[in-house]
């Protein structure tokens, strides 16, 4: 697959939220403010791209030569968690302004399945290094795009008249269903 089509499909047709259901806990739970969603999406992009590179290198240069690929899940979780921690410390020290906006979301991202999911998909799909970079950047851009659009829709939903049983999570899920139809080219 050429890199451009991989990039486009990882943003739109193969969107990680709408077709692979990764990282939907914060998607459903936290994204009702436009600005918060944007910052959250940016933090996810940063963490996903960095941790994809690190886990990819660790997998092919440490786990494969030593024949311990079964440790992959444990290793990846540890790498992601410690990287997030490190990033938070560095941001706090050197870029306090960015830390104020993004710092809140970093601990949440450590246990976000989108990050672990993308790093595992990189390995499962046998990507080359360049493909891996394009895929993880594209997927996380897709995440940002969807979570931002979704937050703006939910701001409207808050004030609209919805039956009691459907208000909150159910209507959010229905919105996601319609969005996934659009993204998966059903409509």
């Amino acid at each position: 697959m050429s890199l451009i089509s991989l990039f486009i499909s990882s943003i739109l047709a193969q969107n990680i939220i709408l077709t692979k259901f990764l990282g939907i806990c914060p998607f459903i739970g936290a994204s009702n403010k436009e600005k918060n969603a944007f910052h959250m999406g940016l933090s996810v992009m940063l963490v996903v791209t960095l941790s994809s590179i690190i886990t990819y290198v660790i997998y092919y240069y440490v786990l494969v030569p030593t024949n311990t690929t079964y440790l992959r899940t444990t290793m990846f979780v540890l790498v992601i968690a410690s990287m997030v921690q490190l990033m938070e410390l560095l941001l706090k020290k050197y870029l306090p302004k960015i830390h104020q906006t993004m710092g809140l979301y970093l601990p949440l991202i450590a246990t976000n399945c989108a990050v672990l999911g993308i790093t595992l998909l990189n390995i499962n799909n046998d990507f080359t290094f360049t493909q891996m970079l394009v895929f993880s950047f594209g997927s996380s851009l897709g995440y940002l795009l969807v979570i931002y659009i979704f937050a703006t829709i939910r701001e409207r939903l808050e004030t609209s008249d919805i039956s009691k049983a459907f208000s909150g999570i159910p209507i959010a899920l229905l919105t996601a269903a319609i969005m996934s139809l659009v993204f998966a080219r059903y409509l």
């Binding site: 692979k20 979780v77 968690a81």
Partner: protein, 211 residues
């Protein structure tokens, strides 16, 4: 018994708590996948709750979460290796959603809320209840999605080499049925939305306990 029932109905992890949605939405295209996924989660949840409740007094508060995640990921890896050895088909069906149990909000949530506070017996019972509740929820979602989306009911197919028993039923098709949309991602969101709404209605319209 009360703890177990509580996990299945009153605190159903999917329909009431609305946690751990990734696998609940992703692998529920077939009835069989749903109960096998539920079973995997049940086993992992029981063992991790057991171990965590035993060591809860030794682990310092500051490193609680990393230790819990390590314990959970150990059991996930064990299940993964066992599946690879005995049912490789199932391992490829569940794909990345099996290792993703490591960061599943249900498992970590139960570890934090129950196993780190209650006695060993309560934690294990709670794990069984929540695990069963999750399995039942997945089976319900998958039943509707498979019947409406592909017009079949797969009771046993991928594991038939292990059990020597195969059961796939096909329903008659009509003009509008089966509907492809239900086996796609949108169908997953729609089915879950209706069940969450139904449970909210049954519980008297109370708001969801948020994450």
């Amino acid at each position: 018994m009360k703890t177990i029932l509580n996990g299945i109905i009153k605190e159903n992890p999917t329909f009431v708590l609305v946690l751990g949605l990734c696998p609940a939405l992703a692998i529920t295209t077939k009835f069989e996948n749903a109960y096998l996924m539920g079973l995997c989660l049940l086993i992992i949840l029981v063992f991790s709750n057991l171990v965590i409740s035993i060591i809860k007094n030794i682990v310092p508060d500051a490193v609680r979460i990393p230790v819990y995640i390590l314990i959970i990921s150990t059991f996930v890896t064990i299940i993964e290796i066992l599946l690879q050895a005995y049912v490789p088909v199932l391992n490829s069906i569940l794909g990345i959603y099996l290792p993703l149990i490591t960061v599943n909000c249900i498992v970590l949530g139960r570890a934090m809320a129950v196993a780190s506070k209650e006695s060993v017996k309560t934690s294990v019972l709670d794990a069984i209840g929540i695990g069963l509740g999750y399995t039942v929820a997945l089976m319900i979602i998958a039943f509707f999605r498979e019947v409406l989306g592909s017009g079949t009911i797969t009771l046993m197919d991928a594991t038939s080499s292990l059990t020597g028993y195969k059961a796939v039923y096909t329903l008659p098709t009509t003009n509008f049925f089966p509907m492809n949309i239900m086996s796609g991602p949108a169908g997953a969101y729609i089915t879950l939305a209706f069940f969450v709404a139904l449970f909210t209605k049954l519980r008297g319209g109370k708001k969801h306990e948020s994450h």
